[in-house]
Each structure stands twice: as C-alpha cells, then as structure tokens.
C-alpha cells in the first residue's frame, strides 16, 4: 500500500467528490464546470511538468502559450458558471474555440494524449453551453 493510499484512508476529512456539491446549479452547468476545471488542471499541470521536462517542440512558443491560454480561459469560464452568471455563454464560446485549437495542437505535437482528451471534452461541453 503506497503512502498516499494510507493517508487517504486515515484522514478524518475525506475529499468531497466533485459532483457532490454545487447542487444549487443546473446539472449541465455543473458538468461543464467539471469539464473546464479538469481541462484547466491538466493543461496547467502538463505544461509545467511534462512539457518543460521534455523540452524541444513541447516548449515551442506557439504551443506552450496556447496551453497557458487554454488553462486560463477554462478557469475563467468555470468561474462565470460558478457565479451562475448569464454571461457564461460568452466565456464558454471563447473557451470552446481555445480548447478546440489546443486539442488539435497537442495532437500534432504528440505525447499529449491526456491533454487532447480533456480539451476535446471541454470544447464539446462549452460549445453546448454557449449555444
């Protein structure tokens, strides 16, 4: 049993599951918040660990910057929905476009499967919210 498993079982406050909360929001909105949050986490984390470690094409300016753009607009779109703002359609529209470009770019660079998948899922969800 690895260390993190032990601590997970022993601690008093188990992690709140992502879909347990925010029940005051519409279900589709909660799903889109989750897709945006996941995409934000994966883009930011992969860029600053995986991409910086691998170097080369992974830190080429246009690619790396797009990953940072994607991470940021995902967080912003999630926040608009968390505020239950009617303007979330605007941010979700931009988010769908940025995520779609980031997915294509990550697929072209390669070795970014997790990021491609998260970006496609988020683009899909945001496109529906923006409609």
């Amino acid at each position: 049993m690895e260390k993190s498993e032990v601590s997970r079982q022993q601690r008093k406050h188990p992690p709140l599951l992502a879909m347990d909360h925010l029940t005051h929001l519409d279900g589709d909105q909660r799903d889109c918040i989750e897709a945006c949050t996941t995409c934000h986490e994966i883009c930011l984390s992969m860029a600053t660990t995986h991409s910086l470690r691998l170097g080369g094409k992974h830190v080429e300016q246009d690619h790396f910057r797009l990953m940072m753009d994607c991470a940021e607009i995902c967080a912003t779109s999630a926040n608009f929905m968390l505020r239950d703002s009617p303007l979330h359609r605007l941010t979700c529209g931009v988010c769908a476009e940025v995520c779609s470009r980031c997915a294509d770019d990550c697929a072209a660079v390669g070795e970014m499967h997790e990021c491609v998948e998260a970006c496609r899922a988020c683009a899909h969800s945001c496109r529906a919210m923006a409609a």
Copy 2:
C-alpha cells in the same frame, strides 16, 4: 428522469473524474488540489448566489470579503501544486489559515454548512501539505 441526467447519459464525452488524471503528481498532492478546488468552487459559488440572494449578514463586508479571499487563495494554492512547485508549502500555509478563518466565520453567520465543511477539509489538507 430530469433533464441534466438525460444529457449526461447521452453525450459522447463523459466528464473525466477528478481523481482519474494528474497521476504524475503525488497522491497527497492530488488530494490537496481536490480539496482546494472544491473549496474554491463552493466559496465562490455560494457567495455569488446564496449570499447575495439572502442579503443581510450574508453580504456584510468582513464576511463576504473573507469568502472571496478564501476562494482566491484556494485557486492559487491548487495552481502551485498543479505546477508541482516546491513553493506550494508557502501558499498552502496561507490557505490553511484563510480557510480556517472562513470556516469559523461561516459557522457564525449560519446557513453556510456546505461552506464550513469545505473550508475545514481544505484547511486540514493544506496544513498537512505546509508542514
């Protein structure tokens, strides 16, 4: 079957579960990211929906501002950990302090059970990460 349940079953890209990704990070770090993200979401969302709707003591400056401070430092701490930054101990230390104060304040204001719980869980997790 409610509308959101239908759409959840029908769509092609199911949401990625929160703990499915970020496997390149340490387990305790992933748990703390999740606690921070959940606390960010609940504080931001409750403040701008529940608190603004109820008014009165819920929009008293010190209380409302503390919820915004808490939402922001949780997002910042999560991002430091997503970058796998060694400096996450510093942000987690501040996050534990802010979350602990926010939990106490929300408990005093009342009708903020979900927020109290998320803040206590995040304070607990961040305190361990900062140690």
Copy 3:
C-alpha cells in the same frame, strides 16, 4: 505631508511606472493591457469596499455579480495580451461586451462614477483590439 507621501519619497525602490515596461509589446496592446488592468482593479476594489459598505442596491445579485464578471474577464484579457497571444482578439471581444454592460449597470445604480469611466474606457479599447 501625509504618511504615504513620506514613505514614497524615502523608499529605495520607486514604483515602476505602468508604461515603462512591456516595451516588447505593441503600443496599442500595452494601452489595452493598461485599460484592462485599471478596470479590473477598480471593479474588484469598488465592489468589495464601496459596494459592500453601502449595501442595498449595491449588493443586489445581478449588479454585484456583473462587477465580479467584469473584474475577472479584464484580468484574463490582460493576461492573453501579456502573453502576446493571437487569441487575445477572442477574450477582448468578450471583455468589451461585459465592460459595456457593467458600465451601463453601474450608471443605473449610481454613485459608481469611477467604475463607469473605467469600464467605458476598457470597452472602447478592447473593441478596437478585437476588430
């Protein structure tokens, strides 16, 4: 001579003026970054000091939430331009729309002159960048 004036004269590191840096970016882009940053600062600061202290119509949900939406999209748009991202046109387009609505709403609420002015200036600048 007030306290802050004294400290400003005595300290060793004078503040860098806003337009002294970022000379690697295009002049119009620097101006728009400044308009976004100023609008972010004024919306966030007035909402959490002025509006929360006055209460009443100043903390009505639709108005207060719009100020937070505005503060956030301004920061996000500024960051896209700071990264010199070609996608800044998308965020500037949304920013212009949100700022324009926030200016009108603040004008209707009243006692928000500074915010109205900052939002109009930012909407004007972002609209030009998005074109």
Copy 4:
C-alpha cells in the same frame, strides 16, 4: 511618430493613470498594488515571449515554473489589497519570499534585467506590507 503614439493621442478615452484611481485605499497599499501588478505583468509577459523564444536555460523547468509562481502570487497579493483585506499581510509575506527567489534566479540565468528589477521592487514593497 510611431503608430502607437498616434493612436494614443487620437483616441477619445485616454488611459487612466495607475495612481489616479483607488484613492479610497491607503497610499502604501496603492504603491504595493502597483509593484505587484507590474511584477505580475513583467514575469508573465517575459516568460511567454522572451523566455520561450530564447529557449535553453530560459525554459529550464525550475526557472520557468518559478516565474509562473511569481506572476501568480503577485496577482493574488494585489487582489487581496484591492479588496482592502486584513489578510493581505499573509499573501504579501509569501509574495515577498517568492519574488526574492525569482529575482535571484533571473539574475543567475541572465538576460532578465527587467524581471530582476520588478521582482526586487515587489519583494521590498511586500515585505514592508507584511511586517
């Protein structure tokens, strides 16, 4: 006369100068907000333009990540002060530490003079605010 100068003179809404607004805040606090904002802008912008273009040691993981940590904690600290939050002492304390490390690291990497200067000024200002 270059293009950006012309547009600056012709436009109807001149940029609000950074120190013209936020007069409801204490002068030292306004100065620290400006130092944090400037440092955020320079770190984020230099990392995603200058550093990614130069490559090599400029995109080495520890260095690049530290610049992102620095950009983010500066924005967070500025926001705590913009909210006039009493907890800004906590975020300013962390910001001073991160900026100080970033200044040293940028000095060691070289070709980062503007960043070194902004980080040192921000560390100095935040240290005083945290005291």
